[in-house]
């Protein structure tokens, strides 16, 4: 063990050496303190999903944006239809006028089954 064998411990001294600090123990708080520090450093405790709050917030914001976009689009389409139906200018500009007339001629009046439909373009 050592080059200085003449300086080896006696059996009694060895027994005393083994007892040095043997009766010492840490305070019980050390355990909790150590575990808390391990927690804080992410080395102990349940494995959590990465940043769940941020993920939830991002999802919620995306849902709100999509809902708002859909609402605006629907409102815009509905508004346009309403304007189209009420505006004669728009109707006049909507292409060739179409009119359907049903003419009842004396010659055809007798015939209950026959009728003539004239379509003007």
């Amino acid at each position: 063990m050592t080059d200085h064998s003449f300086d080896e411990w006696t059996p009694e001294e060895r027994a005393q050496l083994a007892e040095v600090g043997r009766h010492r123990s840490p305070r019980s708080e050390l355990k909790g303190r150590t575990m808390r520090t391990l927690h804080e450093r992410g080395l102990l405790g349940a494995i959590q999903l990465p940043r769940p709050r941020r993920q939830f917030a991002f999802g919620l914001a995306a849902a709100v944006v999509i809902f708002a976009a859909g609402l605006l689009a629907g409102y815009s389409v509905g508004l346009r239809r309403q304007v189209d139906e009420r505006s004669p200018i728009t109707n006049a500009n909507a292409g060739p006028a179409r009119e359907v007339a049903r003419l009842d001629s004396p010659s055809t009046q007798s015939s209950a089954t026959s009728g003539r439909h004239v379509v003007w373009f």
Binding site: D3, E13, Q16, L17, G21, M35, R41, L44
Partner: protein
């Protein structure tokens, strides 16, 4: 699950380490802590010169280092010995940071400077200069080899042997009055 392990069949260190590594199990750590902290604390306490608060700080830091590097423990050596080596390393670092780790004969207290007639073994070791104390504690109590001590203290193995020789003589000198008193 570690929480459900039967108390009559305590889990092995390997099982506890695995649970900490893969599940970050608090129960596994608590069991490992209870099993290995007492001896590691004693090692730290001896190396820092008997200051219990400093020894507690050393043990806490040792656990932080150990848990963050559990993958380095291969299971070939005993976990307790691996952990005590970390605690010893942290304790030596702590003493060194305070500028107390001086491996110099001049730094040791002369026996005639001591205010007591005699000392027991514990007081004699704690009264040694930190450098001597470190070599003596690591070699004669903790069972480190001179090569391991040299690596930890940043000295040669020959220096470690020389320091151990001087440390033993210094301790004997402190114990001598007591031995003489007993024989008389």
């Amino acid at each position: 699950m570690i929480d459900a392990i039967d108390a009559s069949a305590p889990p092995t260190d390997e099982a506890l380490v695995s649970a900490i590594r893969h599940e970050r199990s608090e129960a596994a750590f608590a069991a490992l802590y209870d099993r290995h902290t007492p001896r590691a604390f004693q090692t730290a306490w001896r190396l820092v010169g008997g200051n219990p608060h400093e020894a507690e700080d050393v043990v806490q830091e040792a656990w932080l280092r150990a848990v963050s590097s559990l993958d380095r423990w291969t299971g070939q050596s005993e976990f307790g010995a691996w952990f005590r080596a970390i605690a010893a390393h942290v304790a030596i670092d702590a003493v060194r940071k305070q500028g107390r780790l001086v491996l110099d004969a001049e730094a040791d207290l002369a026996i005639d400077e001591l205010s007591v007639d005699w000392m027991d073994m514990e007081s004699a070791i704690l009264s040694l200069a930190p450098g001597y104390r470190a070599v003596l504690v690591l070699h004669d109590i903790e069972g480190f080899t001179h090569e391991e001590i040299a690596e930890r203290l940043g000295i040669t193995a020959g220096t470690s042997k020389g320091q151990l020789f001087k440390a033993r003589r210094a301790v004997r000198a402190r114990l001598a009055p007591r031995i003489e008193r007993r024989s008389s």
